[in-house]
């Protein structure tokens, strides 16, 4: 199943990676909307569990779990703040409903963060750059994005070289208290910044020399074409939104506390 017209990007990991980023983004926005509509635990939990098949199909379990761990800290903070607020504003009492509410809010936060995380984990930068180019976003932004991604490994290598060069002049980055250590990074940061500026100048020269700004209507060597999988996802998204609307208006959702 090839998404691009005559293009094979190396390292195509999975069918999820192959999906059109624009459709995936629409899906993520839909999840976003649904998460805002519902404030009860059960639908939010279902939303959260719905991510998992995508994660497994895309083989990004390890990275996804890692991002979950990262979100856990902020999630705990949100939970505690919510509980504390209730505690202090309703006369030092904590009801089961309040706790359930706090859990819902936390869960909503997690769902929002994780759905975006899944989006980025299952979309390669090339793909994303192309989607940006094909969308209504001004070309300058898409270009800035892809160029930044292109130079990340270059800058990383350069940072390492600069650190080596300064270490070779006796700079000891590990020594000293916090303040000294921050100052020690000045001889690394300045060459890095100066080099980045020089690099952008050279890039600008090359861009100008290749007709940058010639016309407003740029064409594109590649084209993003929608395929069956994309329509499938679009159908799922529409389905989710339809079900959401139906449930929101017609189906009351029980609270957990009612069962206790």
């Amino acid at each position: 199943m090839s998404v691009f017209d005559g293009l094979r990007f190396r390292k195509v990991y999975s069918p999820i990676h192959n999906l059109d980023p624009r459709i995936k983004f629409v899906y993520v926005i839909a999840i976003f909307i649904v998460a805002i509509v519902f404030s009860q635990i059960i639908p939010l939990a279902i939303l959260f569990l719905m991510q998992i098949p995508f994660v497994l199909l895309a083989h990004v379990q390890k990275q996804w779990l890692r991002s979950l761990r990262g979100a856990a800290f902020l999630a705990t903070f949100i939970f505690l703040v919510n509980v504390a607020t209730v505690y202090f504003t309703s006369g030092y009492t904590i009801t089961a409903e309040a706790v359930e509410n706090a859990v819902s809010l936390t869960l909503r936060f997690v769902v929002l963060v994780e759905s975006f995380s899944v989006f980025f984990l299952t979309t390669s930068p090339d793909h994303l750059g192309l989607a940006l180019e094909e969308s209504k976003v001004p070309y300058e932004f898409a270009f800035a994005f892809t160029t930044a991604v292109r130079f990340v490994p270059v800058l990383a290598e350069e940072a390492q070289t600069i650190m080596d060069a300064q270490k070779a002049r006796g700079l000891e980055l590990e020594k000293g208290n916090l303040l000294k250590r921050i100052r020690n990074y000045v001889p690394v940061l300045i060459p890095l910044i100066v080099s980045a500026i020089r690099r952008s100048l050279e890039l600008a020269e090359a861009m100008e020399s290749r007709a940058w700004g010639a016309t407003k209507r740029r064409s594109n060597l590649y084209a993003l074409k929608l395929h069956s999988g994309d329509f499938g996802l679009l159908a799922i998204t529409a389905g989710i939104l339809a079900v959401t609307i139906y449930i929101h208006f017609f189906v009351p959702i029980p609270n957990i506390t009612q069962f206790l």
């Binding site: 892809t146 050279e202 060597l221």
Partner: protein, 283 residues
């Protein structure tokens, strides 16, 4: 009619006390392979950038004189207009490639011009084949060698089908073998496609043999211009600090000792070797 005509061009960078090019006049015919050399700071890099208008449009600064490239007055036209006629290849391979795949980089200029996809595909593939990088067209620029990167840079200006290609020390960062390959590509483009080439280089040992028109600059001025065989034999050239090919130097040393070699100054090891064989082999 000369394809590049420069008359009394003087240019000073903004804030500079001295001009970088001083009253330079050059005439280059269509299809020529021109070599420009000179010590660091002589103005050859600045001169390159006048061919497509980067000087003065990108760099601002003070410009006097006339310059016409492919019939267009660069002083009064945008660089993007010049891009269709003259392509510039720069020194640092890494900083000329900004797309995530090679063929997208080669297509960049065409995309900027709104060229329709079918036509673009054909031109990109043609440029990739001309520079021998068709097989790596889907790789990312970071994965390939410096020599390959420079070939991508050449392909990306070639795709726009310019009449002129200007290269500013394109092999500075490359090892001699990769450098030779680049010069071969450029030479072929000149001979087979009739593209006018202006090459700025220090490595005369690798490039002098390709040209009939050598320009030596120093301190912003054109000091010597003409056939490399004459220019590289002159003492003035050597005193300017130009790196004369060893074969040529050896020839001159032998000539001083009345060795009996032919009068044609050799520009490469082959030429000198042939001359020596003629003189030393028993008839």
């Amino acid at each position: 009619m000369a394809i590049i005509e420069i008359k009394n061009l003087t240019y000073t960078y903004p804030g500079a006390s001295k001009s970088s090019i001083d009253d330079v006049s050059i005439s280059i015919e269509k299809g020529e392979f021109v070599l420009i050399t000179g010590p660091s700071g002589c103005g050859k890099t600045t001169l390159c950038r006048t061919f497509n208008g980067l000087v003065p449009h990108f760099y601002q600064g003070d410009v006097k004189g006339e310059i016409s490239v492919a019939g267009i007055n660069t002083l009064q036209h945008h660089t993007y207009e010049m891009a269709k006629h003259v392509g510039l290849v720069f020194q640092n391979p890494e900083n000329q490639l900004f797309a995530l795949s090679i063929e997208k980089d080669v297509a960049f200029g065409l995309e900027n011009n709104g060229v329709p996809r079918e036509e673009m595909r054909r031109k990109v593939d043609w440029a990739l084949h001309q520079t021998g990088i068709y097989d790596i067209r889907e790789r990312s620029p970071h994965e390939i060698s410096g020599g390959q990167q420079q070939r991508v840079a050449i392909a990306s200006v070639l795709a726009m089908n310019p009449e002129i290609i200007v290269l500013d020390e394109p092999t500075s960062f490359l090892d001699p073998l990769s450098a030779e390959k680049i010069f071969e590509v450029i030479h072929r483009l000149n001979k087979q496609q009739g593209i006018t080439v202006v090459l700025v280089e220090h490595r005369l040992d690798l490039t002098a043999k390709y040209t009939n028109h050598l320009i030596v600059m120093d301190k912003g001025k054109v000091r010597l211009e003409g056939n490399p065989r004459q220019i590289l034999s002159s003492e003035e050239t050597r005193l300017m600090g130009v790196g004369i090919p060893k074969a040529t130097l050896l020839y001159q040393m032998l000539k001083k000792e009345s060795f009996g070699l032919a009068d044609k100054t050799p520009l490469s090891s082959e030429e000198l070797a042939n001359q020596l064989l003629e003189t030393l082999l028993p008839k």
